[in-house]
């Protein structure tokens, strides 16, 4: 799985670029590169559904973000990285990584998941739902209620965007 490692490291570099580049458009594009890297990861990790969805969602969110930034006056990053601040951030990161490392040791190792539910879905899925794409079978049949919730999340945010961006006039 060396290629997954390599792309993950590249994603981290891309993320650092996206965070630290001053110019907004480049920063947004660097974030897009991270997203494309994620899409590639999904493909390598045998999740083609997610690769497609991630790719198109990434394009859409880049369009939205660029639409927000293009033509706008950008502030100069005036953030003075005070040394105390940085040390605190590093300490927090180190502590978080240490504890997560301790905790993640107790997971089943990478590449051998328990698949308590998953194997059940795989053996029963075709017979009981008639779908050959098991991910579709899960999101629309076994866990269809989740998908209703997910569609509702999107609906909520659409209504929220319309509400926030509506052209408001004073009511008499």
């Amino acid at each position: 799985m060396i290629e997954v490692h390599v792309i993950l490291v590249l994603m981290i570099i891309g993320a650092i670029a996206a965070i630290e580049i001053e110019e907004m458009l480049s920063s947004v594009i660097a974030m897009g590169a991270v997203g494309i890297g994620l899409s590639l990861q999904f493909l390598l990790l045998r999740a083609p559904d997610l690769a497609i969805t991630q790719l198109v969602v990434e394009i859409l969110s880049l369009i939205i973000l660029i639409k927000a930034t293009v033509g706008a006056k950008m502030p100069k990053e005036k953030f003075r990285a005070r040394i105390g601040y940085l040390i605190f951030a590093l300490l927090f990161a180190a502590a978080f990584l240490f504890f997560s490392e301790q905790a993640l040791r107790e997971l089943p190792g990478f590449g051998s998941p328990l698949m308590k539910m998953g194997s059940e879905y795989l053996t029963e899925g075709l017979k009981k739902t008639g779908a050959t794409n098991m991910v579709s079978a899960i999101i629309l049949d076994f866990r269809g209620y989740d998908t209703l919730g997910e569609a509702t999340v999107l609906f909520t945010s659409v209504i929220g965007v319309l509400a926030v961006l509506r052209i408001v006039r004073k009511r008499a």
Partner: protein, 112 residues
């Protein structure tokens, strides 16, 4: 194991960007990176050595599939992330329209 840790580093980078950066657009980018890290983490959990994508084929019988459940969850999570990003962008555009700035220091008038 090292993959998980790298994934958490990505998460922390996004977390740092979301909380520390003063630029509103950068905050949105930080949120996006955090979301990516979590999505990747779930898929890493479901990967199986030499596994195949969980899509059955008419002609051949494959027994070694990766776990389909995290993939289904992450499909949901990606869409939720998109929704939040869109709403954040909308609010930021509205703030920009009022203040003509993306810098939180110029905008901040509220008391903490």
């Amino acid at each position: 194991m090292s993959l998980y840790i790298l994934c958490f580093i990505l998460f922390l980078l996004g977390f740092y960007c979301l909380l520390v950066k003063q630029n509103l657009i950068k905050k949105i980018i930080g949120f996006g990176i955090m979301e990516y890290a979590i999505n990747l983490f779930f898929i890493l959990l479901g990967y199986r050595w030499e596994g195949e994508a969980p899509i059955l084929d008419k002609h051949q019988v494959i027994v070694n599939f990766v776990d389909p459940l995290p993939q289904a969850l992450i499909l949901t999570s990606i869409v939720i992330g998109l929704g939040i990003t869109a709403l954040m962008v909308a609010i930021v555009i509205r703030i920009y329209e009022k203040h003509k700035s993306f810098d939180i220091n110029e905008i901040r008038k509220l008391r903490g």
